[in-house]
């Protein structure tokens, strides 16, 4: 049983014009086996939260803690965090020209597992996982994310999750850019991973449609850089009905 604890997390985005506080005291604990949906309006800081956990250099944590099984994640480099069992499926996966997907996946698996996977097992494993996600074999020789459609990028993010087997996965708007069929395929892959592994999931989304496929144990409303309300699945239904309007006002009032 693992836990990911986020305690009173404050973070700034650092730009050429200076820094600006985006996260204003996030508190959240996720245990393995749990799925937490984080829902919130555009610009509320959901991606910032996921980047702060992963250690993106543009985001600076100014106070608070992130603990993985009691270990301070914020002191680890980006790659150490991944090797410790954190995974971020990005909202906008990055293109890396000239680096083939197969080389990338193998380098990542070697790093995370601490040894190069045996080539025959590896080929079979990759083929199987690609099959589950309806990814055709030719993608292996293409450059990482280069020229992939939005949906193809998202499938590859989940492929990486399945191969790297994290203890905690942050899925940042994995549903956006997916059509109905793709959403089903991707959700099934996530559900299968959840069923077969001890994993905690933070599912960031703007819409409720993915929650019909991946059932959350907890739903949190994220607005103005913090969690403003938490509940069960019924909270998502309520959001579907009335949107975020009420929360935006509340968050702004709270921030004054």
């Amino acid at each position: 049983m693992s836990s990911l604890e986020i305690k009173d997390l404050h973070a700034d985005v650092v730009t050429d014009e200076g820094s600006k506080e985006i996260l204003k005291g996030v508190n959240l604990t996720i245990r393995s086996g749990e799925t937490h949906a984080i829902m919130g309006p555009n610009g509320s800081g959901k991606s910032t939260l996921s980047y702060a956990i992963a250690g993106h250099p543009k985001y600076e944590v100014t106070s608070g803690e992130v603990l993985l099984d009691g270990e301070n994640v914020l002191e680890m480099s980006v790659d150490e965090r991944a090797r410790a069992g954190l995974f971020l499926a990005m909202q906008y996966p990055v293109e890396v020209p000239g680096v083939s997907m197969s080389n990338f996946l193998r380098s990542a698996a070697t790093a995370v597992r601490g040894e190069a996977p045996k080539i025959r097992h590896w080929v079979k494993e990759v083929k199987e996982e690609m099959g589950k996600l309806d990814i055709s074999a030719e993608f292996a020789e293409r450059s990482v994310n280069e020229g992939f459609s939005g949906g193809e990028k998202k499938r590859h993010e989940i492929l990486q999750m399945a191969l790297l087997k994290p203890k905690f996965a942050v899925l940042d708007e994995t549903d956006s850019g997916l059509d109905v069929d793709a959403l089903r395929v991707v959700s099934e892959a996530v559900n299968e991973y959840k069923a077969n592994n001890e994993v905690g999931v933070m599912l960031i989304t703007h819409y409720t449609r993915i929650l019909k496929h991946i059932h959350p144990d907890f739903v949190h409303v994220f607005a103005g850089g913090r969690i403003v309300e938490s509940g069960g699945k019924e909270l998502a239904d309520q959001l579907e009905e009335s949107g975020y309007v009420g929360y935006i006002g509340k968050a702004e009032a709270a921030a004054v």
Partner: protein, 391 residues
């Protein structure tokens, strides 16, 4: 006709498309060194070159004090000869267009001639290794590679060692010849090398000209491509990697003066360390007679550390509207933090992530080098460069 012009400059470098005051086609050329004025460094042609580091190659104060040593491993079908400067074949590909090239032309005593006979396909690459004259010594040289009509071959000119060296290299392609040439500048740290390379293509000839610059204190390579007859196709590829204090300059000129010819230029450079400087000039001239020309040139630079600088100046002059296509692009960027973050977020350590990105950057060019021995050697050289500074 399509003309594209896409120019992206970043903080690390200056990239500008300039049209020089005079057309590139009017640049003076001569075999006689005295016909050129001593350059001061302010001329368009010299403004990026650190003149003090030329060791007098440009002002007549550097007499030959040594010799270039040559050893060749020719394919069985290919002939390598050493000839005197009076050999009538010499000078066929073009006249020197700057004072150092003219100095080299006036000063060399022996030339190396590599001939691929008519309608012959070489069964293996030919490697010609040129060893510098040694530290503190100066040498002048001349090399001519001749691919006679319908010949096919791959030739590697491998420059290694120490010293100061200026030369002219000619590539003379007969009708229908197909030649791949690689000029590798893998000099020791002290070396200064200034080279004018003259590419002359016969009817329907095809030349792949690859320049690889890795070592040396100052390396300046100026390839000029001309077409004797229609139907020529030249692909000019370059790969360079400058370390702290190194100056690497590549000045290209493609002179389209006859119809139905093609040129495609792709140069990629990486730079790292204080004072690493690369200069890329890409002049393409499409003269009025050169109808149905197709040309594209691209230069990309990757600045890996602070204190390195890349200058990139593409320049396209078009004197006829009847062309098939013409375009150029140039961009210089720093290491992409997003790419590094992405790779690291998958557990890949920073150092390895950087290597993956740099290898990825050069991948496009390496894939076009179809001589496996050369490609493997370059891959190894890039690895060594990365290792040296722990990028």
């Amino acid at each position: 006709m399509t003309v594209t012009d896409d120019n992206v400059a970043s903080t690390a470098a200056a990239a500008e498309a300039t049209v020089p005051a005079a057309s590139r086609g009017e640049r003076f050329s001569s075999y006689d060194v005295e016909a050129f004025e001593v350059p001061s460094g302010r001329e368009e042609n010299w403004r990026f070159t650190p003149m003090k580091r030329l060791r007098g190659l440009h002002d007549g104060s550097a007499p030959a004090t040594g010799e270039i040593e040559i050893d060749a491993e020719p394919a069985p079908e290919v002939r390598v000869e050493t000839v005197g400067r009076d050999d009538e074949r010499i000078g066929a590909a073009g006249r020197p267009s700057d004072r150092i090239a003219a100095q080299a032309y006036s000063s060399f005593e022996k030339a190396t001639l590599v001939t691929v006979p008519t309608e012959t396909k070489a069964s293996a690459p030919t490697v010609v290794r040129l060893h510098g004259p040694g530290e503190g010594k100066t040498a002048y040289g001349h090399v001519q590679v001749r691919a006679e009509a319908f010949a096919e071959a791959a030739i590697v000119l491998d420059h290694v060692g120490s010293g100061t060296y200026a030369d002219n290299v000619e590539f003379v392609l007969g009708d229908g010849a197909q030649l791949t040439v690689v000029s590798v500048q893998d000099w020791a740290d002290d070396a200064v090398h200034v080279s004018e390379q003259h590419l002359r293509l016969g009817r329907d000839a095809k030349l792949k000209h690859i320049v690889v610059t890795l070592g040396g204190d100052l390396v300046r390579v100026s390839p000029t491509a001309t077409f004797a007859e229609p139907g020529g196709d030249v692909e000019m590829l370059g790969l360079h990697f400058a370390d702290a204090g190194q100056h690497q300059e590549h000045r290209l000129f493609v002179d389209h003066a006859v119809p139905h010819c093609k040129s495609n230029v792709l140069y990629k450079g990486a730079l790292q360390g204080d004072g690493a400087h690369s200069v890329w000039i890409g002049d393409v001239l499409i003269r009025a007679a050169a109808e149905a020309t197709e040309t594209f040139e691209l230069n990309r630079n990757l600045v890996l550390t602070e204190g390195a600088r890349a200058d990139s100046v593409p320049n396209l002059e078009i004197e006829t509207g009847e062309i098939t296509g013409a375009g150029h692009a140039s961009a210089t960027g720093r290491f992409d933090d997003e790419q590094l973050f992405y790779l690291q977020s998958r557990g890949i350590a920073e150092e390895q992530a950087r290597r993956l990105v740099v290898r990825g950057f050069f991948h496009e060019i390496l894939m076009k080098i179809d001589i496996p021995e050369v490609r493997e050697r370059l891959e190894a050289a890039i690895e060594a460069e990365l290792q040296a500074v722990g990028v």
